[in-house]
């Protein structure tokens, strides 16, 4: 999509103010800066692991922009920009990434497996797709208890092959539940290109369940917003579930443990022509909404706050080893109590 077209699209969305566009840009830059910081911290052994979200920021930001506070969001492990746009502070993100004693989850999970309940996020788990059937139950509960809001969930292209995806779409459709399924198709499931994941177009997979679908340009803020708007409207109006395929691009490796050179040799690029942040930046500059000075300041500020925040959070002590026996059950059974004593003694 060229810039001219994008401008026309913007008119279609209509309600995107300059302020909103600028906020989105700032979030995107912050997310990218944070991501880079974490990758470096991982290399230095400060943070254990990371799944970079670079390249996928814009669809995540658009999702957060259109979601209401009362909407419940089930993210997956690669949604850094989504949290930031929805207001999750850097401090909480670092606490989880570091697994320190401030971490809501008590350091129990790998980095990127967040659970920001206060911001109406659910909980992230590693098994791909396994959160999807939960979204359906949550939507059932919300309808049953007459709560406002819809359920939104994100997942990768690989997740569409899982049994959980099939289960979730089956149930969402049969019970006509308000779930907005957003597939962040970044073209890869680790080393498997999306073209080998499935021969169908992902947004058409709803056809097997009577669920409508739509493909949106996930690398473009305006494209994402206008595409998503229709989907949000559909689900909010109670018509049932909807499947969005956001075409996006994984700029980096699958994770800090991954070496994409093994499988991505023939098409490695820096991703810049698809880079959603560059695209928004260029658009804002071209439209005169911001100038190059603003761009520089934004980036510098992002870096400063990310650096500062991480330094601060690194001072927070780790959790007590004996706490590993908590939260297996509401109250530890005799087994956990005994094992806690065992660890305490052997320690």
């Amino acid at each position: 999509m060229g810039d001219e077209e994008t401008l026309r699209e913007m008119a279609i969305v209509g309600n995107l103010s300059n302020e909103q566009a600028i906020t989105a840009y700032k979030t995107a830059v912050l997310a990218r800066t944070l991501d880079t910081k974490i990758i470096n911290a991982q290399r230095q052994g400060i943070i254990g692991f990371h799944v970079p979200a670079q390249g996928q920021e814009m669809i995540q930001i658009a999702t957060a922009m259109l979601a209401d506070k009362e909407d419940l969001i089930f993210t997956y492990y690669r949604d850094l920009a989504l949290y930031l746009q929805r207001g999750v502070p850097l401090s909480l993100i670092f606490d989880q990434m570091l697994g320190n004693s401030n971490d809501f989850q008590k350091g129990r999970q790998m980095p990127d497996h967040f659970s920001f309940k206060e911001f109406n996020f659910s909980t992230v788990q590693s098994p791909v797709g396994a959160h999807l059937p939960l979204t359906v139950g949550a939507a059932y509960s919300m309808r049953y208890t007459k709560k406002n809001g819809i359920v939104i969930t994100t997942f990768g292209d690989g997740a569409t092959s899982t049994s959980d995806f099939h289960a979730a779409l089956t149930m969402a459709s049969v019970y006509n539940l308000n779930v907005l399924f957003i597939c962040e198709n970044n073209g890869w499931a680790i080393s498997l290109p999306a073209s080998k994941q499935t021969k169908a177009e992902i947004y058409k997979k709803g056809a097997a369940y009577g669920i409508p679908g739509k493909r949106v340009d996930g690398n473009d803020l305006i494209g994402s917003l206008s595409g998503l708007q229709e989907a949000f409207d559909y689900v909010r109006s109670g018509k049932g579930p909807y499947l969005v395929e956001a075409v996006t691009y994984r700029i980096g490796p699958h994770s800090t443990s991954d070496d994409p050179k093994k499988y991505r040799v023939d098409e490695i690029t820096d991703g810049s022509e698809k880079d959603p942040i560059k695209r928004l930046e260029n658009l804002l500059l071209k439209m005169g909404v911001v100038d190059s000075n603003f761009v520089m300041t934004t980036k510098a500020q992002a870096k400063e706050s990310v650096d500062k925040e991480m330094e601060e959070r690194m001072n927070i002590p780790p959790t007590d080893p004996l706490s590993i026996f908590d939260d297996v059950y509401e109250k530890p059974t005799w087994i956990q109590e005994e094992e806690r004593r065992d660890l305490n003694v052997s320690d």
């Binding site: 059937p133 509960s141 049953y144 289960a167 939260d327």
Partner: protein
């Protein structure tokens, strides 16, 4: 008080729970209009409507996954898996999700659901309508696993499962569904999770069992006038360690009886706990009488399931050791 069988007892208990608490939702294959293939949920659809008694599509992963989302967000789903043999498509949701939600969120979420499912043989159901899979669940921290052996415990354990904030695998010995009636109070009552029942006091030998094997064990010891301590575990995870060790220390001779296959069946854990904590009290080997380590056969299931003869052989072995 009424004289009722286990199906009736479960049905009434479900009815009372639904009447008292709107958050209780029943779901599963054929649980609605059909009332469940064993009729445990009979008539509940008529009383509580399709929002609360949900006939689901044929996907156990979907049933359990959806139920866990409901439980995380304020409801109290009681999901039925038609036969325990068909729970395995949902195994990932059970061991990787449900059992670990509280833990992985640092206690910020919980999944207080009940998964009810009939298990065990004796109904000529062959490989896929007869399995006793309790050990698969009992190896999974985060789950509670219970199994009643009579109409009273069925009702009481169900209420405790309802009150539990942890996920409960509720295993119903299908052979006992209509096998016997017993006195069950008409009001709600509880049978505590984690507490075994002493069914018989005796000094010569301890028999530790649960679920479908309880009536067989009782019949064997009564007919043969064995002076046995008989323990019905009722809860498999967390097991009542006090009851197990107390009886082992008292008699020094232990026979464990269950229908599931021997290798890594629940009997292995019982035996290991005793071998770890009460070895000096033992006068004889700890003997397990169990289903065989083979898939559950259609023909000759009567040989697969431990019978009184096999139980008596084991008892005599430890008594005469």
């Amino acid at each position: 008080m009424s004289q009722i069988n286990m199906v009736q007892s479960l049905n009434r208990s479900l009815d009372r729970l639904m009447a008292a608490d709107e958050r209780v939702i029943i779901m599963g294959e054929d649980v609605g209009r059909d009332g469940g293939v064993f009729r445990v949920t009979d008539n509940l659809l008529n009383k509580y409507g399709t929002e609360r008694v949900i006939d689901t599509p044929l996907n156990e992963l979907a049933i359990i996954g959806m139920a866990s989302g409901m439980a995380m967000y304020g409801l109290k789903p009681i999901a039925e898996i038609q036969f325990q043999d068909y729970i395995f498509p949902a195994f990932d949701q059970i061991v990787n999700n449900i059992a670990k939600v509280r833990y992985r969120t640092g206690g910020r979420f919980e999944v207080p659901l009940i998964i009810r499912t009939p298990y065990g043989g004796g109904v000529r159901g062959g490989l896929y309508h007869s399995q006793s899979g309790e050990a698969y669940f009992a190896h999974t921290a985060g789950l509670i696993v219970v199994t009643p052996s009579n109409p009273y415990d069925a009702s009481g354990l169900l209420v405790s499962a309802y009150k539990s904030k942890d996920p409960v695998i509720f295993l119903e010995p299908k052979r006992l569904y209509r096998a016997a009636k017993s006195e069950v109070p008409d009001e709600q009552f509880e049978v505590e999770i984690g507490k075994a029942a002493k069914l018989k006091e005796g000094d010569d030998v301890s028999i530790i069992t649960y679920g479908s094997m309880v009536p067989v064990v009782m019949s064997a010891v009564e007919k043969n006038q064995v002076n046995a301590d008989v323990i019905d575990l009722r809860t498999i995870l967390p097991m009542d360690i006090t009851a197990v060790l107390q009886t082992a220390k008292k008699t020094g001779r232990v026979v464990i009886v269950h229908e599931a296959p021997r290798t890594l069946g629940v009997g292995a854990e019982i035996s290991a706990l005793i071998a770890e904590r009460a070895i000096d009290s033992l006068f004889a080997p700890i003997v397990r009488v169990t289903g065989y380590d083979i898939p559950f056969p259609y023909s000759h299931e009567e040989f697969y399931i431990p019978d009184e003869k096999r139980i008596m052989n084991a008892i005599n072995k430890v008594l005469t050791y």
